[in-house]
Amino acid sequence: MSLDWRLVTLLMELVSSLISFIVGYYALKGYRASGSRGLFLLYTGFMVLGMGIFLRLIAVTYFAVILGVHEASQSQLLGLVNLTVWIYSLTQLTAYTLFAVTYILQARSIGKQNIAAVAVSAAVTFPFSARLFFNPSLELVAVTFLGVVTVYSFMNLLLKRGSDAALVFSGFGFMMLSHVFFLLEVFRNLSTLSLFLGQLTQLAGFVCLLIMLARVSKTDVPRA
């Protein structure tokens, strides 16, 4: 990937990370005002997600852009890069798990707990071919978890039929799509395009959440 494209994707990641922190902060404000456990989980999830994206951003900037480490490198730094990938992927999975738990607790459905087991077994069966800055197995788990979150947000949209619920559904839907693109990175001939589309759809997802936040912030009550 040329340096210009890499900078564009880094910029997109920076914006995604910042939006994640903003949404997390708003959820914290909501938790403080209402004491809602769901909002606390949402706050933790978005903060962890923002930190994960930010960590990846720092890692890519330092290892790939500044030090010039790439997959063919024999550098000992590759081990450190792999560690960063694992931390990044695990922060994302933690965040998505928290989102899924939020919805599952809200729905109080029985039997949905098996989803985690399905996601883990899907990851184990998937070919484990580590790529620089992405781990396909963990991406597959991320797609599964976000799939659950997206389905729940779609059910919420069907119930509420509001623009804000539609924006949240679109946000999670785009995030899930972004992990599908990151997953496609295993096909080397699609690598550059899928990485770019992954970052773009991830950003689109966060922008949807930001629009929802802007709409909510404009809410007013009648003057007494």
Binding site: L39, K160, V221
Partner: protein, 96 residues
Amino acid sequence: MSQEHKEYRSKARIYADILNSILKHGGKSGPTRILYGANLSYDRLMKHLNQLIELGLVQEEKEGDEVVYKLTDKGRTFVLEFVKVEKFAEAFGITI
């Protein structure tokens, strides 16, 4: 198999319902109107109203023989913030 759920309101939710009820009546209301609007018994309403007065969200006034409860600026800000939080939570399918 059906399971009956009894919905409990959080303290913040009850406060918001009381303040909203006052707001709907022009920012000033007697206890009877508030208890209907907030769906509370008289005793529970009075307990919560005293807490809201202590928090500075509501102030008690006398209008002739009647006691009325008036929303303060702080109370109005609380209602506004709560409505925003509620909309935010609803967008994610969270009930508060």
